[in-house]
């Protein structure tokens, strides 16, 4: 098991190395000259050239790449061109907000989606099953940003239940923060929730068809006992896999939801920086997000071992 974890850890490091390569090479083709952006349109070509030298932009690409990775490893993601601050600092300010709503969404999606899937599987073919299947079908098709627009219209503008937008730290004003966060979290969670419901349902049905479920029945166990003790423990394994995928999707969707609800998190930072041609920030953001996703996937792989004795005990 420990060997497995260490091997997986090494794999994650390799993956992250590839991520840096991808991020670095994409951003080489970003439009606009950072030096020009930094100095403004009035600067003379000589000044631009001088800044380019200072920023190290005139050095060969491999050297630039190595310097960037070297600094990144030490936690230095460079300096923003537009706001002229440390990127690490900027991200440090934006990241907690995104993490907060993302984690809440993930919890919500699991807490509602998984039981919904279980119920649908137990009541297969029944009314509840069809209802859950319709909702999850739509859940997976509704764009998060459009859902956000709908929410704003009905719950804020028409019903006035929640504020239209804004973000307050829960430590500052918990009540206001919660009010502001409810709609974004629902919008983020909805698609993931639908996926969890579907995956749980089909995993449950798959397990119910297995021989050992028949064995459990032949022993005279109650259906409820079979579901809770026998089926669920097996069905949870593919559901765990889905968590990894959904982390990606939820973090990705923050880009829209933060935009609509005006939350100053990572998603909005990425979009703003793109419009500001602030490629150093974009680079940093993408890297940080990739690290988060890669490490959640690592954790998920490890948690397999705990869910499945076939992996834990060889």
């Amino acid at each position: 098991m420990i060997a497995f974890i260490i091997r997986r850890l090494l794999q994650t490091v390799i993956v992250l190395f590839m991520v840096t390569l991808i991020v670095f090479s994409i951003l080489q083709v970003l439009p606009g000259d950072p030096a020009r952006t930094l100095l403004g349109p009035e600067a003379s070509p000589e000044q631009v050239e001088q800044i380019r030298d200072e920023l190290g932009l005139n050095r060969p690409l491999p050297v630039q790449y190595i310097t960037w990775v070297e600094h990144a490893v030490q936690g230095d993601l460079g300096k923003s061109i537009a706001i002229k601050e440390d990127v690490t600092g900027i991200i440090g300010e934006h990241l907690p907000k995104t993490l907060y709503i993302s984690i809440l969404s993930m919890v919500l999606a699991i807490v509602i989606g998984v039981p919904a899937g279980i119920i649908a599987a137990i009541r297969r073919g029944g009314k509840i099953d069809s209802l859950i299947s319709v909702v999850s079908n739509f859940g997976m098709a509704v764009p998060a940003f459009w859902l956000a627009v709908l929410c704003v219209y009905f719950f804020s503008l028409k019903l006035g239940w929640f504020p239209v937008q804004g973000y307050t730290s829960p430590f500052k004003d918990f009540w206001l923060s919660t009010q502001q966060v409810i709609m974004p979290v629902i919008c983020l969670a909805f698609a993931a929730l639908a996926s969890f419901a579907r995956q749980t349902r089909s995993a449950m049905l798959e397990v119910i068809m297995q021989d050992f479920t028949r064995t459990a029945r032949s022993k005279g166990l109650k259906e409820g006992t079979i579901i809770i003790k026998h089926t669920l423990k097996n069905a949870i394994i593919p559901v765990i896999t889905l968590v990894g995928l959904q982390v990606r999707n939820i973090v990705g969707s923050t880009i829209f939801v933060e935009q609509v609800f005006n939350i100053p998190g990572m998603g909005r930072l990425v979009v703003q920086s793109i419009f500001n041609q602030d490629f150093v920030v974009v680079q940093g953001c993408v890297l940080v997000i990739a690290i988060i996703v890669a490490f959640t996937n690592l954790l998920i792989d490890i948690s397999y071992g705990f869910a499945d004795p076939r992996i834990r005990i060889k």
Partner: protein
Amino acid sequence: MSHLLEVKNLQTQFTVDRNVVKAVDGVSYYVDEGEIVAVVGESGSGKSVTQYSGIQLIPTPPGKIAGGEVLFNGKNLLQISGEELRQVRGGEIGVVFQEPMTSLNPVLTIGYQIIETIILHLKMNKKDARKHAIELLKSVGIPDAEERIDYYPHQFSGGMRQRVCIAMAMACKPKILIADEATTALDVTTQAQILEMLKDIVKETKTSIVLVTHNLGIVARYADRIYVMYAGEIVESGTTKEIFSSPKHPYTISLLNAIPRLDDPKGRQLIPIDGIPPSLINKQDICAFLPRCPHRTAACSFKPAPKLETVSGSHYSACHEDITTEAIKEVAAARATSEDSSADAFNDNQSDNENLLEVKNLKMYFPVTKGILKRKVADVKAVDDVSFSIKKGETLGLVGESGCGKTTIIRSILRMYEPTAGDVIFDGQNIAKMPKHKLRPIRRNISLVFQDPFSSLDPRQTAGSIVGEPLIIHKLTKTKAEYEKRVNELFELVGLNPEWKNRVPHEFSGGQRQRIGIARALASNPSFIVCDEAISALDVSIQAQIINLLEDLQKKLGLTYLFVAHDLSVVRHISDRVVVMYLGKIIEVADWKSLYENPLHPYTKGLLAAVPIPDPFVEENREHVMLEGEIPSVMNRPKGCAFFNRCPMATKECSEAEPPLVETEEGHSVACIKVGKEVRV
């Protein structure tokens, strides 16, 4: 007199693709206390569904119990539900399923799975239940039960898992134990151990056992009474002796004629049952065996399906005709081509022929890796220093139980693996280390017939293109017309209609698919064919067809076979010489006669003793010497003789050195110091 279990006119149906499948069609039988009742039939005969219907284990939908009664202790099990039903399940009727690998929940410990049953039915507290579970595990022969109770299923071998399943089914001392092909997936010696154990259970606890199986040998050895099922109906029933001594139904008769026996005269022609079992979709009211029946008369096709009628005493049969012993003989004689000629074929003296294949000191090791960097820490010696040869035109049987290395040998010979060491000399060329491109032309001359007729044919290709593939790869035909002609020829050669060329594999039955596989193997005109358990996935009634086809082709084309199988009766029937393997080594080689009539190695003896013979009169007088224990893992091969810890003859010196393979008489070699000595004295 009332029976413990009485099933009356049971009807179970499935709705598949909007068609009704009558899986069980008016079945009646009974089980009394303390008896072993066998329900015999091939796959699809409805034998398992019958059993599951009684305790409502049929998935509904698509299943439906359309009629009948299942009276257990006077209660109709089909009309109870909820708590009452669950009391019966596991409490009074226990089930052991076929697949030990999938029947236990992989994420729960075996202890948990047994204890939950005990708590549920016997209302014990956790501590007592655990004690009881440990006792149960001990009673089914699980060593170190105290520790192993907390193991997960994947930590046990197949045989051990089946023991766990039996312990679980027996946990609450049920009145009836249903064993549904419970030993089919197991090795012969394990199978014998488990069946003996079940027999002891009956003696001790008065529990009745319903033995659901396709294996007539098992039935003859263990059952008191038999029900023979075909196409969802019982076609014959009676005591074991009645059925075997004077079978009345043509299906039973044909079945007994189709299977090879361990005590057959060599050269006995197997008489296959033609065709395939009928589809149960929209079944007509007509004798289901009619199209395959060698005794059918014109009148049969106008009569409704025959009912079970008394033959004598407790012997019943469902057939319109009263088939006399003479009629049976006549038909058998007409269908078997002269026995003498086939006997001649076996007496052919091949000892003068030169070797086609010679395997010398073959070693195939697989590395065991450990740790983060997958460092090699040891070798698994899957095949360790094996030598044998096959002469042109002969059939060499290779037998052994799982893990003995027979698959690895095949793969090494076929060069799916590159052997670690040793020579494989085929037709004068050493192919053991030959590079791939040089090997390609040689591949033409060696073919493989696979075990599984389903997975060995590409489901997306037509039968014709599957058979023609070797012709294209080896560029054996020049024109399109020539290609088509050759494919047609091959179809006819294996007894398939060339018009079926454009069908895809799933449109064929298992036996027909195996014929396609054989046609493909023959396409490049090879001299040597490896049959890897080529008939073991087929139904009993189909096996004889394929065995006869293989024998026929050998005569016609002068083929050389390496016939790998675990079924010792079949190997005996088809082989000229036999190699017995145990844990990666050859322990005995001899011509079939000396091996089966005078086995020397204690393992060979145990193996043969474990094979039941489909004849209760023979079985009565046979000594049942069981091999104890299980085959050790190849990973930790015991020192000295690998068979040491299971051997009844073992002494201390056996554990000290590996016994060499010594020729004791001409053509008969054995690897055992005990036996070798005896002969030398």
